[in-house]
Amino acid sequence: MSQDGALRLPISRNWQQQLVVILVGLYCFWGLAGIAVADPAFHVEHLQVTPCGDAIKINASVQLGKEALLQQILDQGQTLVWVVEAEWREPEPFSFIPGVGVHAHGEERWRIHYYPLTNQYAIEDQHGALTLYAHWSAVATALAQVHDFMLPLVHGAARGQVALRVYIDVQALPLPLRLRSLLGHWKLESPWIVSAPLSH
């Protein structure tokens, strides 16, 4: 299974103006405090990238946190969308801004279901192929591997880096659960992990 992600950068501001800004900032801080302080649920490790022609083959392992939460959500009948996202980043000015310097992007999505009738978990790929798992541990094992994720390179500089992250697509959740995710109860994503510079 393969995975990838996106970088988040911090942004930064007399007396009425300052007061307004401070109040707005406090309000926003209050509203989004949960997101800011919550720890990521997943971590991508052992990232291995192998150039293969006009693509890069990516392998990695994922350390799953909040497994119990995931299983609980699934057992309650909520379908989750597991996303592996990869980017090819080339050195450019202002590349610290998200999106700048990204010359190739790829992602794969898997839908994870639970069937209470047969006590089975199923992972369905983008083509509708279903894989059943009788136990959660098997699902966790399957999710913990990014296997031969192919990131096609259309064009780019000779040198660049591969960035990868995994996450549960919050936008695919029902609105109440999305609101809970927004308020910081969940942060079902990994930070971007970036490979060493490589040529292709």
Partner: protein, 737 residues
């Protein structure tokens, strides 16, 4: 500069928003506020819509929530600014702030309480409504239904597994060729969908299926990877729907060392059972999804309710603040206007474009202030006119030579002009009662006359009276008239003139006329008398001899007395002579020294000293007249000294000249002092009148002639007893230029 302007503009903008109005842009605040309010409500409705819809537009839920929160925050800031501004106005004691505060409190309470009550009920209702979706009975029923469905499905799986085990048992020890017949027969017997026998190397040995396709369905790789020594039975969903039981069971080989074969059986669960089980699974899943979303849904509803409450309350408070400001602004303006009127500033208020009671009140107030301003201008103009008239009268009264005193109806002195003070030689305080004025003063005859006139009113009064002064009597003529002042009470005015000079001049003129007539009438017969006496003497004295002694004495007496009469007549002539001055610049000191030379050789026993001021300017005068003044004064002094008592220190005359200031003009002062007995007190005031003399001899015209010459030169002369050792002193002031 822009940096400085930016916060100022922001401040004005915030003030306009928070106060709801600014002097420059009264309608900007409400307009912006209304727009913001509309945006907030639209955002809120949008959030509710998206929350309830949950469709593809639900992606905008979070941005809309942030925008809505931002608008709520902005409204909160506006309200806070307005409340702080209102509190500051209240603290400063601005008019209208208390009313505005009461309005805001009332509107806030009227909006807050219902909103909070509705919020509370809604909160409870939502909580209970959401909770009511879930119950233990429903969950138990769903669990049991799922268990029933599971049992039904498991029954099929178990029966399929039993059938597969029976077939596997039957195939033990059979050859591959016989196994085909056995598989087909037993599949029909157990009514299975598909039965396939594999060798250990995954080669199909035998297969039988309801499916007409030649290629049998192969077990999934995951199944093949299972433990070969134990049977497995799984239920999997089919791509076309439905559930399929898959059993994989080893067929044991009776021969030692021979590998086991594998039997793979597929059996679909009946459609009716599958649909029922699927329905139960869907219901079970949805129920648990709802349970999962139970608290998040509450949170979403609570957020929506909180935003609605905040929007409603903040909007109401802000509208209340704006309304209070609009209502109290005209009142505050009116109060400021009344305070301005109290300070005397009659400035019309800015009109209000409304036709309600406040608009009418401000219109009436403006009319009143305009009328007051007009009246004030008229009063100021009248006061200015009166002041000018008063100043004009004061100036006129100050300039005229007649003394004027006015008394009010209660006989108190109201006005005194400068001439009155000068003539009466007394500073009369305004407001003094008439009765208090005539106590023991030199002016007592005047005040008695006035008091008598006031007590016995007549239309007018005109009297001439004399006031005894230390330097002689002062003659004044007094006119009195009654008048009515503005208050209607009667007062009176006294107009008087000092006619002492006039009287003296009249007396002088009279004496001049007498002298001229005397000179004319006496001088003419004197010469024939003298000539006749001389002729008698010449003709009869020698003839009579010794008997002519009487004639000699008589004619000599006649001749001498005629000479004396001539001298006197000459003096009269001199006194009555019309002035014919030859004015030329002369040095007064030189003239004095010339005159003194004539007296130095005389053995009169009188020492004459001169103290002449140095550097005196030339005096434009008639030298002969001045010489006559000096001779008259010196002769008078010497006569006074020679007729007096001999003192041990001798007799002295001092002539002194000096330059003095008499007001704005320089004056040349000539003084003649002696240490004689001085003027008799009873004659002191009249020494310059003709025939006033203390000497046995003399015509009594010397000082009168001196005064006449001095007056012909425009000068002044006084006489007193402040000479040497209390002797006589004559001081003459000649004006220079």
């Amino acid at each position: 500069m822009d940096r400085q302007r930016a916060p100022f503009a922001l401040r004005n903008w915030l003030r306009a928003l928070s106060a709801g109005t600014t002097p420059e842009q009264q309608r900007v605040g409400p307009r912006w506020g209304a727009v913001l309010l509309l945006l907030a409500i639209v955002a809120f409705l949008g959030i509710n819509f998206f929350t309830s819809a949950g469709g593809p537009l639900s992606h905008y839920f979070v941005p809309m929530l942030v925008i809505s929160a931002g608008i709520v925050l902005f409204l909160l800031i506006l309200v806070l600014f307005s409340v702080v501004a209102l509190l500051l106005r209240l603290r400063r004691g601005e008019v209208g702030s208390q009313l505005a505060t009461r309005l805001v409190v009332i509107i806030t309470l009227l909006s807050f309480l219902p909103a909070v009550i509705v919020f509370g009920f809604s909160w409870q209702y939502l909580n209970r409504g959401v909770d009511s979706w879930f119950s233990g009975a429903v969950q138990t029923a769903l669990d049991q239904a799922l268990n029933v469905a599971k049992a039904g499905v498991d029954r099929y799986r178990n029966s399929t597994l039993l059938a597969a085990e029976s077939i596997a048992q039957a195939l033990v020890g059979e050859s591959d060729s016989n196994a085909v017949i056995t598989v087909i027969a037993l599949r029909d017997q157990y009514r299975l969908s598909s039965v396939t026998l594999f060798s250990s190397d995954n080669r199909i040995i035998a297969t039988s299926s309801d499916n007409l396709s030649l290629a049998p369905r192969l077990p999934r790789r995951e199944i093949l990877a299972m433990d070969e020594s134990h049977p497995t039975a799984t239920i999997e969903p089919e791509p076309k729907g439905g559930l399929l039981v898959k059993v994989l069971i080893p067929v044991l080989s009776p021969h030692l060392g021979e590998s086991n074969r594998m039997l793979y059986v597929e059996q679909p669960i009946p459609e009716q059972l599958t649909q029922a089980a699927e329905a139960v699974q869907v219901a079970y899943t949805r129920y648990h999804q709802l349970m999962l979303m139970r608290e998040p849904m509450k949170t979403a509803f609570q957020l929506s309710l909180a935003v609605a409450l905040l929007l409603a309350v903040l909007s109401a408070v802000w509208m209340g603040l704006h309304l209070a400001r609009r209502l109290t602004a005209p009142i505050a303006r009116l109060a400021a206007g009344t305070q301005a009127v109290a300070r005397g500033e009659f400035i019309p208020l800015q009109t209000v474009a409304s036709h309600d009671e406040l608009g009418v009140l401000i219109h009436s107030f403006n009319n009143m202030t305009r009328q007051l301003a007009r009246a004030k201008q008229q009063a100021a103009a009248a006061q200015e006119q009166a002041e000018q008239r008063r100043l004009y009268l004061e100036t006129v009264l100050g300039q005229i030579s007649s003394g004027i005193l006015t008394f009010d109806g209660e006989n108190h002195l109201a006005e005194v002009n400068a001439a009155a003070t000068h003539i009466l030689q007394e500073d009369l305080p305004r407001g003094s009662a008439l009765d208090a004025l005539h106590d023991g003063t030199a002016l007592e005859p005047l005040w008695k006359l006035v008091a008598d006139w006031v007590e016995h009113p007549r239309n007018g009064m005109q009297k001439e009276l004399q006031i005894e002064r230390s330097d002689g009597p002062q003659t004044i003529i007094v006119h009195g008239a009654h008048f009515a002042d503005d208050a209607g009470s009667r007062g009176f005015v006294l107009v008087f003139d000092d006619i002492s000079t006039l009287v003296a001049a009249q007396r002088s003129a009279a004496w001049s006329e007498v002298a001229r007539r005397l000179a004319h009438e006496i001088k003419n017969p004197l010469t024939p008398i003298q000539l006749s006496a001389e002729r008698l003497r010449r003709k009869y004295l020698e003839r009579l001899g010794d008997e002519g002694e009487t004639l000699d004495r008589a004619t000599r007496t006649i001749i001498h007395q005629v000479d004396a009469l001539k001298v006197m007549v000459d003096a009269f002539s001199e006194y009555a002579r019309q002035p014919q001055l030859e004015l030329r610049p002369l040095d007064l000191n030189t003239l004095i020294l010339d005159v003194l030379d004539l007296y130095r050789g005389q053995e009169s026993g009188v020492e004459i000293r001169a103290e002449l001021g140095a550097g005196l300017p030339p005096l434009r005068a008639d030298v002969h007249r001045l010489r006559q003044i000096l001779n008259n004064l010196l002769r008078n002094a010497m006569d006074a000294l020679q007729g007096g008592v001999e003192s041990s220190d001798g007799k002295h005359i001092l002539i002194r000249t000096r330059l003095t200031d008499a007001g704005p003009a320089k004056v040349l002062e000539l003084s003649v002092l002696d240490d004689g007995p001085g003027f008799p007190a009873e004659l002191l005031a009249r020494v310059f009148e003709p025939y006033v003399t203390s000497k046995v001899k003399g015509s009594g015209l010397g000082l009168a002639i001196v005064r006449r010459i001095v007056e012909e030169h425009g000068g002044q002369i006084i006489a007193d007893n402040q000479g040497l050792q209390g002797g006589a002193r004559i001081v003459i002031d000649f004006p220079l230029g």
